[in-house]
């Protein structure tokens, strides 16, 4: 203790000097506009470099998730490829399989604007007319349906999200064949309603819901979600079914716009009989 006091007596002026300089420089940096800006900017340069490095590190950690999703996607595509080959081999005599193999082509697009908290949610993607996108095309991602193209200009397109009250998607219960239309009526962005499934249908919680392929917008058997709950309403002929979405609309990165090469043909023949 005595040594400490002696130290202070001997070097007191140095301590005082350092202390007062710190006080002064703090005042300078805090209360003078020009110096404050210099201080903040140099601090920004340091923190900017730091943030850059941290971001790099973060991205590195995210790589595993990204590569996981890519691997899943690869597995899915490989399965489709394999299955379609089997399909072709088994029906080599038929031209139908060749046609159906060519029926859908996919345009990859990046989501650049999205919302889930409105009543009528829309998504903007970075592909447009130049890339072959037209109105009323379906949009999916690897895990489920995303929406339907509403407006297109040269470079962008607006998608009515499946979380839009007016979007209906033709859906079916996988491998059981019952079909209905999927529409968002709840407030929960991960729950959709499957309507018009007959009360005689044999369904259970956990059944997979896929696209039916009846409409020209979506290819058949694309995963949509699973049945969360269902019940029969009094005096109603069909089940009320709540479907939990398989994909997360709030976290969309890349989507596929579906170009159904035969849609005009199908629509034309359906319209020809519409008044019959």
């Amino acid at each position: 203790m005595r040594n400490l006091i002696l130290l202070f007596v001997k070097y007191g002026n140095i301590f005082l000097f350092i202390f007062l300089e710190l006080v002064c420089l703090t005042m300078v940096a805090r209360y003078n506009t020009a110096q404050h800006e210099i201080f903040v900017n140099s601090a920004n340069i340091f923190s900017g470099v730091l943030y850059n490095n941290v971001n790099g590190l973060k991205q590195y950690f995210k790589l595993s998730a990204v590569s996981d999703s890519l691997a899943n996607e690869n597995a899915r595509l490989r399965k489709i490829l394999y299955n379609s080959e089997v399909d072709k081999i088994s029906r080599r005599d038929s031209l139908l399989s060749l046609d159906s193999a060519l029926q859908y082509s996919y345009i990859t697009a990046k989501v650049i604007n999205n919302s889930i908290n409105l009543n009528n949610n829309k998504i903007t993607i970075n592909k447009g007319r130049k890339d072959g996108i037209k109105k009323r095309m379906g949009v999916i991602n690897a895990d489920g349906a995303v929406g339907i193209i509403k407006e297109v200009n040269n470079n962008f397109a607006v998608v009515l999200s499946i979380l839009h009250r007016s979007v209906k998607i033709s859906a079916a219960v996988k491998s059981k064949g019952y079909f209905g239309s999927l529409q968002w009526t709840s407030d929960n962005p991960s729950i959709l309603d499957l309507q018009d499934v007959s009360r005689h249908a044999d369904i259970s919680v956990g059944d997979t819901i896929v696209t039916s392929g009846y409409s020209t917008k979506f290819p058949p058997n694309h995963m949509l979600g699973v049945i969360d709950t269902f019940w029969l309403e009094q005096g109603n002929d069909s089940y009320a079914i709540q479907v939990k979405l398989n994909n997360d609309i709030s976290n969309l990165q890349y989507v596929y716009v579906i170009d159904n090469l035969l849609s005009d043909e199908q629509n034309a023949i359906e319209e020809a009989t519409i008044n019959e």
């Binding site: 002064c24 703090t26 003078n32």
Partner: protein
């Protein structure tokens, strides 16, 4: 002691008034004039009597700088330069030690130790003060060229006035 205290208080007020009311008004705010800041107030620290302890010199300089900053509306800039000047004072004094020792009852002035001695001592102190002041004002050494230019230009004006001040007001 009472005599010295009142003398210092008087000098404190006089130098603040002189600096703020007179020399601050002379500082042009455009062109080459921008480099010529007339800062005569460091003389307050330069000629403080020897008998005031190192720590008290620093504290006095701090208070003096803060009052100046009030008038210059530049919190901390003058104060930090004053504290720095007060801190290096003992070192500079021992550097330019004249023949024989300093008399503890004296002040480091022209009249006690001669013109040449004072000119040397004052030059070192003033230059250090101005350099520190303009460095803090710029707040970065990126503009070291401009800092040096300002220091030298202001040094010439202020040095001349400080020596003159010594002759006008006899602080003996």
């Amino acid at each position: 002691m009472n005599n010295i205290t009142s003398k210092i208080i008087f000098r404190f007020i006089l130098l603040v008034l002189l600096q703020v009311a007179v020399f601050k008004q002379f500082t042009p705010d455009s062109g080459y004039g921008l480099y010529f800041h007339t800062l005569i107030y460091p003389i307050f620290i330069i000629i403080l009597p020897f008998r005031i302890s190192k720590i008290n010199v620093i504290l006095l300089a701090f208070a003096f700088g803060l009052v100046l900053d009030m008038f210059y509306s530049s919190p901390g800039v003058h104060a930090s330069a004053c504290v720095f000047t007060a801190f290096i004072r003992p070192t500079v004094l021992s550097l330019v030690k004249p023949q024989g020792e300093y008399d503890i009852l004296h002040s480091p002035t022209i009249f006690n130790y001669g013109f040449v001695w004072f000119a040397t001592y004052c030059a070192i102190m003033l230059f250090a003060h101005l350099f520190f002041y303009f460095s803090v004002e710029a707040f970065t050494f990126v503009y070291i060229g401009q800092i040096l230019l300002k220091t030298i230009a202001s040094f010439i004006v202020s040095y001349f006035l400080i020596i003159l001040f010594q002759f006008i007001i006899n602080p003996k």
